[in-house]
């Protein structure tokens, strides 16, 4: 039945990857790396995990090694963060285009300059268009559960796409939390062995990664788009089965006290738990507010977002990254696009908060929602605002 332990979330993530019976881990072991791969290297070195651990000379090489490993038919994992993720980005597009079910944990951190490795979502937003499936965890238990889920979905022959589990850097990656770690046998029941649909095999030569001329590139992108969109059904199905087996259920979009809410708050990642506390406090003082929080980032769950938000008078959308487009944050842009397409046009205010490790507190959320109500009442221009910036 598994055991409840107090464990650093990065270590728990490594334990989960080990329980998923991974065949190869390739990683660059220096900052901004986390304990995820450090602990995996220990598991391999101490003989607890029968896998290859390949310490490479950069994140670019880490993902390149993963591409080769996955193409050879091995269950493959890596982890990165921030600038390392940026260096890896080139090969991330290739892994997705080649339909290789690599699984990666990203500890979300800021991008330089100035040099900063603390938590925000700049790295996640930088890589939003790489064509990987992406989920985001709110606590340590979710990181563990989402890792099992990721391997299961990525390797499903209806999907065959690489998969990222985002977890907030430091806020999750470096804190000790109570986590239920299942038995390896339970994980094996949920996650069948990897059966590649196509692999490099000298007996049956194939070319993986050829040139795609203008007469075929458009069709290749169309397949990727369709497969990524269709993966949502498999993602939801695998969450249902995870819930049935382990008792913890997940959805692409989660809601908290939204039933009779007039104004909504939107968050993603670990600040969602702080946001729930803020919603409780505001409800106690009689404000009709609720929270919509995101678990599935790619493919973007447009229908679920619309269902969760329709009927709201005003919505505060929190972004943990600045797009520098002068319009609004990246998540806000997608939500606005989704709602516009469905002819639902509420008052939306975008708050950019928690950049480069700055805390986002209960008071911040209360202030955001109060300002949202006032701005909507006055009919102020919508736009965006950077929370807590010192003038």
């Amino acid at each position: 039945m598994g055991k409840r332990v107090g464990m650093e979330v990065s270590i728990a993530a490594a334990e989960a990857v080990g329980m998923a019976d991974v065949d190869l881990i390739a990683a660059y072991p220096i900052t901004p790396q986390t304990h995820v791969v450090e602990h995996l290297s220990e598991l391999v070195a101490d003989g607890h995990l029968d896998a290859e651990f390949v310490p490479v000379e950069s994140e670019h090489s880490a993902m390149s090694t993963c591409v080769g490993s996955s193409a050879a038919g091995a269950r493959t994992f890596t982890s990165t963060s921030s600038q390392g993720y940026a260096l890896m980005a080139e090969i991330c597009y290739i892994a997705a285009g080649l339909r290789l079910p690599i699984v990666m944990v990203v500890a979300n951190r800021a991008l330089s300059a100035p040099i900063n490795i603390w938590n925000d979502h700049a790295d996640m937003m930088m890589s939003r268009d790489t064509g990987w499936i992406q989920t985001i965890a709110e606590n340590g238990q979710e990181v563990v559960d989402l890792i099992f889920h990721a391997f299961r979905v990525a390797e499903d022959h209806r999907v065959l796409l690489p998969f990222i589990i985002n977890m907030d850097g430091f806020t999750l990656s470096h804190v000790i939390e109570p986590i239920i770690l299942p038995d390896k046998e339970e994980v094996a029941r949920y996650l069948p062995p990897f059966k590649p649909a196509l692999r490099l095999d000298p007996k049956h030569p194939v070319t993986i990664g050829p040139v795609g001329m203008p007469d075929v590139y458009t069709e290749a992108k169309k397949v990727h788009d369709e497969v990524l969109k269709a993966s949502k059904d498999v993602i939801v199905e695998a969450w249902k089965e995870l819930g049935d087996q382990f008792g913890r259920y997940y959805k692409p979009v989660e809601t908290y006290k939204t039933e009779d809410a007039e104004n909504l708050l939107f968050t993603m990642g670990s600040i969602s738990e702080t946001a729930m506390t803020a919603i409780d406090a505001m409800r106690e003082s009689g404000k009709k507010v609720g929270l919509v929080h995101l678990r599935l980032w790619r493919p973007f769950p447009s229908d679920e977002i619309y269902e969760a938000m329709k009927g709201a008078k005003a919505i505060a959308i929190v972004d943990r990254a600045l797009t520098l487009n002068g319009v609004c944050g990246p998540v806000c842009a997608e939500i606005k696009s989704t709602l516009y397409d469905r002819k639902f046009h509420p008052y939306i205010k975008n708050y950019i908060a928690g950049l480069g490790g700055r805390d986002v507190t209960v008071d911040n959320f209360v202030e955001m929602m109060d300002k949202l109500a006032e701005s909507a009442g006055r009919g102020d221009p919508m736009g965006y605002e950077i929370v807590g910036v010192k003038e």
């Binding site: 196509l198 070319t207 075929v216 290749a220």
Partner: protein
């Protein structure tokens, strides 16, 4: 609607645009951006086969007489064959001349 211009339906592409049968590049004409063309003087040629060995695109094909003839379908005009020929039997000529 815009005219469909691809060569294969997106529904029929193999996984990850992989190529499942080897040797498919044979049917891909890659010599059409050449600006210089190698021309062999068979009176000078000693049939040593160095052009065949050094050509990076396997343009040269051995014929019955023992000479090697270039297949311009694949030739990029790099000039390696002309450079390597020990008897200067190969000249690079401007395309269009």
């Amino acid at each position: 609607m815009a005219k469909e211009t691809g060569i294969i339906s997106w529904k029929k592409l193999d996984l990850g645009t992989a190529i499942l049968s080897p040797g498919s590049a044979q049917s891909l004409k890659t010599g059409d951006w050449r600006s210089m063309r190698p021309v062999v003087d068979y009176d000078v040629c000693i049939r040593c086969g160095r052009c065949y060995i050094y050509c990076p695109d396997m343009v040269y094909v051995k014929v019955e007489t023992g000479h090697y003839e270039p297949n311009y379908y694949y030739c990029k005009g790099c000039g390696i064959c002309a450079n390597e020929c020990p008897v200067q039997a190969i000249k690079m000529v401007e395309e269009g001349d």
